[in-house]
Amino acid sequence: MTAPLEVVGRSVERSDAVGHVTGRTRFAADRAFPGMLHLKMVRSPLHHARVRGIDLSEAERVPGFVRALTAADVPHNRYTILSLIGVEPEEEFVLAEDRVRFKGEAIVAIVAETEEAAMEAVAKVRLDLDELPAVFDVEEALKPGAPIVTHWGNNTFMYEGHPCRRVRLGDVEAAFARADHIVEGVYNSSPIEHAPLETTGCIAVPEGGRFTVYTNTQALYFSLDNTSIILQVPGNRLHFIGGTVGGGFGGKVDVIVEPIATLAAMKTGRPVRFVYSRSEEMQVSSTRSAWRIYLKDGVTADGRIIARKVTSYADSGAYSRQTPYALTKHAANAAGPYAIPNVSIDAYCVYTNRQPTSAMRGFGVTMASFALEVQMDRIAETVGLDPWSIRFLNAYRNGDMKPHRKLADDATLIETMQAAAALVGHELTAEQQAMTSAPRAGGDPGGR
């Protein structure tokens, strides 16, 4: 593209600007339909329990109650978002069967004429639960004797026979043995909520043998295809309409409301609205995973990182959702934007009795960046370099092979750091100023 660009590169006014400032932009739940019913969920009050019984008799007597949906009503009662792309096993339930694995897990859907009636009926459902021991810490969950969250006997997602996603390049142990310094760190984060201003929700409307679902999903076809599988109806009977999402940040890739709302619309023949309350959004919807990341680096006296070992645990909560993929993405990025010849990464997706976690802005990478960039300062301090110098010294360049054996071809870390230094008035050395991300002479050096 050598011609000068006309429109690309210009700050044109947003096409939705007037809609947003006048409030005319239509969000999913801004619609109303005649005869619309409201769905509210009965949720587990316990972190881990056996479900012995559900008593709906009092709830059914609430004026305005229309019907309840339990696991038996769901044609294919498995909710596994990534099954669409072949990720197994199927392990989460649309509505709980014999066991609940986190506080807030959906057990019974109540459909009623008004939201108030639905909430009242929810409060009147009696659950008979036997509390089970629960586990909340990623490393506790991996110890022998820990309560088992999954149905396959341990608390990790299995990656082609391994309990973790592995990356191996070179020989880290040999490099540690010849390193001048070993620098270690342990980095923790706790779960984070997406907190979109618009909560997750949809309205499912029966229309002439088809179902139109107005939803704020971030991924219309993820939602449609999963709904099709769960309800065992052909995709051509589903029509999903999205549009502007009132903040996503990854939380609305979860396909959590559409299947059950559509099922309720099928069972009642009426439009059904299912929109999370703010406390559901906070306490039930997926979060960003908590992470624990162990880093061990072998460093030469002059500050070159010759080996990096990463052991990471992401707290998936009670079910997988998108988190197994987060660990793969993490593994591809857990050594950072640095040229390190010997790398070993073990990234575990661990199940606990916590609200499930899923995609969130930067998932797999955000907490890796936190850990790595604090670690870089630790290394700098250990070898007596300043934070800029340690990064320039180790920065990756085009043509370098990353630990997952992909050649870097759009590396610009050096140029970006140079620009940041200029912005804040940090004086770089002449050597740092002269550096570029151009391929190293002689290609990717084994002995760089």
Partner: protein, 333 residues
């Protein structure tokens, strides 16, 4: 009462897109008889401005003005398949699909014009302001709208294009982790400046200044919006946010916005940035995705700045005043 100041930095890369089971997007483009072009997608706009930048990319490729393009998104009865809006993929994937569709539609438009002008299609050009002409012959010029109308009513043809872009699936080698998980990498380097109250452990973020390298900015104001909003979210992640305040304990999980802490308009640092453009080899007009990464580098930059200010290295997020105070206590004689 002492207030200590410190500066910290962080440098990061971030991948554009993913390889989950293959990562495709499709787009359709067609001209109406009034000369506007409709881009049809099923990708959703999360507020980052996808509709706007896709309209810009379509207008650029078609060679028409931005306001001649209508972007119709997010309806599975009309929009062709899209994986969804996540993984910093939308501008890159959908943008590439739209370019392909727009190239095809533009070709159909030029074919009609060439026939009408009795010229070779190579001689026809668009002036970017809604007119088609024979190159170098301003007299032989016609509005796009007229050609589009002629296509329908005189020639019985569509002016339409189909486009798709797919990042093929990359299996991961389970032993070595060899994989091709993304399309390109954007970069950021952030310098944060903080002030710490040694009696309360409270952190005030004074500034977050960053350089970003994003390939190509389709809309600089929207890029700036991501950087400013991301800097705030990074600061929020670093110092405030958690759904399990005493992780791994599950207790005291917030129920509402008074308990779920995020900084407000009185906690804003100075936010400044420069943006470099080093076009990627595979993004539309060289684009790299930056939707997600803007929250990343501020986190370690702030944590490193706290260490620089206080000598207390906090390795767990969020960095609460209590963690800092306990760290300071441990260092007090």
């Amino acid at each position: 009462m002492a207030k200590l100041r410190g500066t910290g930095m962080a440098a990061v890369n971030y991948p554009t897109g993913m390889n989950l089971g293959g990562d495709p997007s499709q787009a359709l483009v067609h001209a109406t008889t009034s000369g506007s072009f409709v881009v049809t997608l099923s990708a959703t706009d999360l507020g980052q401005g996808l509709r706007t930048v896709i309209g810009q990319i379509a207008a650029e490729t078609l060679g028409v003005a931005y306001d001649q393009v209508v972007v119709d998104t997010a309806d599975t009865d009309t929009g062709p398949h899209d994986m969804g809006t996540f993984a910093s993929r939308a501008t890159h994937r959908v943008g590439n699909a739209v370019i392909a569709a727009a190239v095809e539609a533009r070709k159909a438009l030029l074919d009609v014009a060439a026939e009408e002008f009795e010229a070779s299609v190579d001689e026809i050009e668009l002036d970017g302001h809604g007119n088609l002409m024979v190159r170098g012959v301003p007299a032989r010029s016609m509005p796009v709208a007229e050609v589009a109308s002629m296509a329908q009513f005189k020639y019985g043809r569509t002016i339409a294009g189909r486009g798709s872009f797919m990042k093929p699936r990359s299996e991961v080698d389970p032993e070595t982790g060899a994989m091709d998980p993304d399309s390109t990498e954007a970069h950021a380097c952030t310098v944060a400046e903080v002030e710490v109250d040694t009696e309360t452990g409270e952190v005030t973020v004074l500034s977050i200044r960053s350089a970003y390298e994003v390939g190509r900015q389709v809309n600089p104001a929207l890029v700036q919006g991501q950087i400013t909003g991301g800097a705030w979210m990074g600061m929020s992640h670093a110092l405030y946010e958690t759904t399990a305040p005493y992780y791994p304990a599950p207790d005291h999980s917030p129920r509402d916005f008074s308990e779920y802490l995020m900084p407000g308009p009185l906690e804003l640092p100075e936010i400044d940035c420069v943006v470099l453009e080093m076009p990627s080899s595979n993004g539309p007009y060289g684009v790299k995705g930056i939707g997600e990464m803007t929250a990343n580098s501020p986190i370690p930059a702030i944590v490193n700045a706290i260490y620089h200010a206080t000598g207390v290295r906090i390795d767990s997020l969020p960095v609460t005043p209590e963690k800092i105070l306990r760290g300071l206590d441990a260092r007090r004689p």
